[in-house]
């Protein structure tokens, strides 16, 4: 058990190192010079800037420095928000993203499982069909389209009389201030994950339903509700949990888009604007930060899985 944990931990560190190195290499490959902009700089100013950012040193020194800084969470200063360290911006923005992400994930997991379970238990009926149609739509409609449409219809069209005394607004258009603000964005962000979970849950439950131990339990006289809750659900949910790691990744990267649509001041909002303005330190910083976070989340999912499943093959990585 301990060996497994150490092994996973080492693997996470290795992955992180690969990610940092990759980011460094890619940033080195960037064409152009970060200080060639609109203003022409004199050579002396340029050299001073080079020295300040260590760009006059050999590449391997730059790399080691980059590595050291990255490990400490220092990603340099933003080029656009001048003088502000990337880490400070991320520190401010991250809580919004994680709030949005957790809400989306919780919604996706619960609603998705419910949908999948319903579909499996009512296999071949209208319930099944409707659930699977919802799931098919969920994975086939990109969030930016769904987000824009829902924003338009639910927040704008359905909210009448906004300027009168009796005005009401079904849902706010954008922002992240009140609880009402926090309904639509998590829904939009979570829908594709919901679809994936629902489909996995359905097939997993159907597979478990055909297992011999379910038949054996039925032969003991268990009623259908007992069979489902005691013998089927737990075994069916376990494999679904393994995708929580990758799903967290897809939710948090998906937040890039959703935060922009609903104007939520999270990491994604900054990231997209830094992409559009070539704010490289910001891009690299966000990437590394998010990458590290997701690698950590994956590790956590892996480790907690060993706690839930008594029969886990400890070295499943080898299989």
């Amino acid at each position: 058990m301990l060996r497994y944990i150490v092994q996973r931990l080492g693997f996470a560190v290795l992955t992180l190192w690969v990610l940092i190195t990759l980011t460094f290499v890619l940033m080195q490959l960037l064409p152009g010079d970060p200080f060639v902009g609109d203003r022409a700089l004199t050579d002396s100013v340029k050299n001073a800037l080079y020295a300040k950012y260590g760009l006059d040193q050999p590449v391997y020194i730059q790399y080691l420095k980059y590595l050291g800084n990255a490990v400490q969470g220092d990603f340099g200063d933003s080029l656009i928000y001048t003088g502000r360290p990337v880490s400070t911006i991320l520190e401010e923005a991250f809580p919004f993203s994680i709030d949005l992400g957790i809400r989306a994930l919780v919604f996706a997991v619960f609603a998705g499982m419910l949908l999948g379970i319903t579909a499996a238990l009512k296999k071949g009926t209208g319930w099944d069909t409707v659930s699977m149609i919802i799931a098919a739509i969920g994975i086939s409609v990109p969030s930016f389209i769904l987000g824009s449409l829902l924003q338009y219809f639910l927040a704008l069209k359905l909210s009448g009389f906004t300027n009168t005394q009796f005005g009401f607004r079904l849902l706010p258009i954008s922002g992240w201030a009140s609880e009402q603000h926090k309904i639509l964005p998590p829904f939009v962000l979570g829908l594709s994950s919901l679809a994936i979970i629902a489909r996995m849950m359905r097939s997993s439950l159907l597979e478990v339903a055909g297992q011999e131990y379910v038949k054996t339990a039925k032969a003991r006289g268990l009623s259908m509700p007992l069979l489902v809750t005691r013998h089927m659900l737990r075994n069916a949910i376990l494999p679904v949990l393994t995708i929580l790691g990758p799903l967290t990744a897809s939710v948090l990267t998906g937040a890039f888009v959703v935060e922009n649509i609903f104007n939520i001041p999270g990491m994604g909002k900054y990231f997209v604007s830094s992409v559009q303005t070539n704010d490289y330190p910001m891009i690299a910083g966000t990437t590394l930060f998010l990458g590290a976070f997701l690698i950590g989340a994956n590790l956590l999912v892996d480790l907690s899985y060993t706690l839930v499943d008594p029969n886990i093959k400890l070295y499943k990585a080898k299989v």
Partner: protein, 305 residues
């Protein structure tokens, strides 16, 4: 009861019948083909895809307009006005042509990305699975690292460094997307390696590569096809996502993703500019997803009763 005496004459056992249909690879594919033929979902998906591909090829070829023809005297036209079936955008470009052209670009990106997936994944997984042992161990560790890094992040980084464009999207997706295919092929390879006919072809002196590509891969064809079908919508989605954050196909080209994200900016006044490309995008993805799902049910022998 009395019977005619001749009824009690010996006849002995019947001649061995030719049974055993439905077993073996040939029988399996015959079975699959039979089940596919009657499947309504598969048929309608294929028809829709055929229409999409045909439209993507021919509409831009034969249309009066081109994707970049601007007509500033007729901007933001609605449905069926001024000779424009789907209307025009804010620069007076014909949306009908643009949507079909966008479909073409999106499909090209998806198919190429999937092709890279297929080649890289098959070679990588094939080698790992066939040789096994140390080779396999190392290759799988490398693969795990690639998988552990969130793929969208890498794609975005690559896009920034390589400068956005159709080729870049294909390369970026191909650089990450092959892992699933590699795992799948490796797994199939491991299973099939144990089978007798591989041993037989070994004994007959077939080389390793010959066995991999002639003997083993055709047997894994079913699972590979399903995987590919489901990769296509994922590639289309990635392209649309990149387009939205400004890393997609660059003008003058347009994909369904860029069209839809352009549409968002003027959506509240001209909903058609978003809805039309969005419908194309969603229908394309939905069709591939449905097709893949149904094919999996049909091809996977586990779902047989």
């Amino acid at each position: 009861m009395q019977y005619k005496a001749e009824m009690f004459e010996w006849t002995g056992p019947a001649k061995e019948e030719q049974t055993l249909s439905g077993s073996g690879a040939a029988g399996y594919w015959k079975d699959v083909r039979q089940r596919l033929r009657g499947n309504k979902v598969v048929t309608s998906c294929l028809v829709i895809l055929l229409l999409l591909v045909a439209g993507a090829i021919f509409v831009p070829l034969f249309s009066r307009y081109s994707i970049s023809d601007q007509d500033l005297s007729s901007t933001n036209l609605g449905w069926m006005t001024g000779g424009h079936l789907f209307g025009t955008d804010k620069l007076g470009r014909d949306l009908f042509v643009r949507v079909w052209y966008g479909t073409r670009i999106s499909l090209i990106i998806a198919f190429s990305a999937v092709l890279i997936d297929l080649v890289v994944g098959m070679v990588y997984g094939g080698i790992a699975g066939y040789f096994g042992g140390k080779t396999d161990e190392i290759m799988m560790r490398v693969l795990e690292v690639v998988v552990a890094i969130p793929y969208m992040i890498i794609v975005i980084l690559l896009m920034i460094v390589l400068k956005p464009g159709v080729t870049t999207i294909i390369l970026a997706y191909g650089a990450i997307g092959w892992t699933g295919m590699a795992r799948l092929v490796r797994g199939q390879m491991m299973q099939l390696k144990e089978k007798e006919y591989v041993l037989a072809s070994r004994l007959l002196g077939a080389g390793s590569w010959r066995i991999i590509f002639r003997g083993l891969i055709p047997n894994s064809l079913g699972v590979i096809i399903v995987n590919l079908t489901l990769t296509i919508p994922s590639a289309i989605f990635t392209e649309a996502f990149l387009s939205y954050i400004g890393l997609g196909v660059q003008i003058p080209l347009a994909s369904l993703g860029t069209l839809a994200s352009e549409g968002i900016t003027s959506f509240q006044t001209y909903p058609g500019l978003l809805i039309i490309p969005a419908v194309f995008l969603c229908v394309t993805m939905l069709t591939f997803n449905l097709l893949g799902d149904t094919l999996r049910d049909v091809i996977d022998p586990k779902s047989k009763e």
